[in-house]
Amino acid sequence: MGKSWSGEIAIVGIGESEIGTVPDKNPMQLHTQAARAALEDCGLDKGDVDGVLTGGIANPLELMHSVLVSEYLGIQPRFTTSMHLGGATQIQMVISAANAIQAGMAEVVLIVSADSIRSFVGYEMLLGMFSGAGVTEMFSRIGHPQFEVPYGPTLISTYALAAARHMHEYGTTVEQLAQVAVTIRKHAAMHPDAQKRKEVTIDEVLSSKMISRPLTKDMCSIISDGGAALIVTSAERARDLKKKPVLLLGGGARTMRERLSLVDDLIRTAAVDSGRQAYEMSGLGPKDMDFAEFYDCFSITPIIFLEDFGFCEKGEGGKFVEGGERIEIGGEIPIVTHGGCHAHCHPGVPSGIFHITEAVKQLRGEVEERRQVKGARVGLINGLGGHFSSHTTLIVGTE
């Protein structure tokens, strides 16, 4: 077994691009805005960066993506690659950066992820290949071309299948699903940058447009432009930098099957194993967490993650969220404190990076007072990619 980097690697800088609707910036400009802000945040110069990780851009024509981003930024990294694990990518990049730093293969790693899937700036060539349904059509093409796509599934219907199964096995209700959206929207309403800042009621969520039953529009991700960046380095190097370092205490990952027909169980996910690894590495457990930035691409996922990460028993996630008190800021385990994919910013795969920047801000005490989790010292972040296949977990803290 290798040497654990728990407590020895830190996130020292974070930066976000313009987010929401950004009709005048292509993905490369968004990457640059975020990277520049992250460098300014920690006081490092781009000349200090010797590792660059990128991931998640929807444009499959952008081969060599991390190399192109490095080139645009004028950086010649010794450690670089682009990763493709869907919403699990961002945390995997942090884990990989930590591994590289621990092994001496990099000292300062820039992680940057951004996209333009709302305005589709820079997507002219690709869009010509689709019929006009835009991002929904593009993401529905990630299924098996012969055995899935011909039946008309969407990425949303995948998560609807999980929601329906959870309702069937455990009696989870559509009102409980709606509550997840209500709480996350409540958090977004406190965030000055969130794309959707209007609070909603359970009735409003349930009466929003039906997309793929049981999921209504308000239970789904929004579509955004934007991205963010992180600077990761050793805890030792972090001491001389501008901000209080946020230490990586634990990490874990597990990937199961991606094609829907091969997923054994849609509601008992590999987040269990990914979480177990992170808990073991950090020596902490669910009771130690001050908040949980769950990957909230659809309202069913936080319910499943509350169970899979041990905040409640399997099957009790629906009851756990009822009323919202236990999962909101000020509650037992506040989730998705920035508004997440539901309401803050969801530029597709890169959205998971905002769960990380939010955790860092919470631990630094940099968010607006009413959104601040009081006394936050340690938090859990998770990522989920594709059709429930890729799961990643990060536990971060200030000590």
Partner: protein
């Protein structure tokens, strides 16, 4: 016959026997001659033991709905006129699962655990798409 605008499977070296079977109203799955596992979707190697000694066998063609969703927001304009339609995961008795549509029934009447049977719809002269209908359902023409 109106043009079929939805995505059409393109058989390849790994999957051609499946589509030839479907054309003859047979739902074929793979059976590993080395470890005995059944598998769907088809590929050249067994996902259990990596053997390439795979046989094609006919599934009983019955199944049970593991989960389903009624899609209102279709993925593309080609599917718009079908919406709302049912996307479902169907458990086959051989232990495999398929993504498919449940047809010949009002989407509101589909249930998890519902017993279904395969029905083939010819979408082109080469391709018949296996879908499922409730076992107790009316006999259909196989057009959907």
């Amino acid at each position: 016959m109106e043009t079929y605008e939805k995505p059409i499977p393109k058989p390849d070296r790994e999957t051609r026997p499946f589509w030839e079977g479907a054309k003859q109203q047979k739902l074929l799955i793979q059976h590993c001659l080395d470890c005995g596992a059944y598998q769907f979707y088809p590929q050249a190697h067994c996902r259990g033991c990596l053997s390439d000694r795979l046989d094609w066998v006919e599934s009983k063609g019955t199944g049970c709905v593991y989960s389903y969703s009624v899609v209102h927001r279709a993925p593309s304009t080609a599917f718009d006129k079908d919406a709302p339609y049912t996307v479902a995961l169907i458990d086959l008795p051989e232990g495999c699962r398929m993504l498919s549509n449940v047809v010949e029934v009002d989407p509101e009447e589909v249930r998890i655990g519902m017993e279904v049977e395969v029905v083939f719809g010819e979408i082109t002269p080469e391709i018949s798409l296996p879908k499922f209908r409730p076992v107790q359902g009316r006999t259909g023409s196989g057009r959907f």
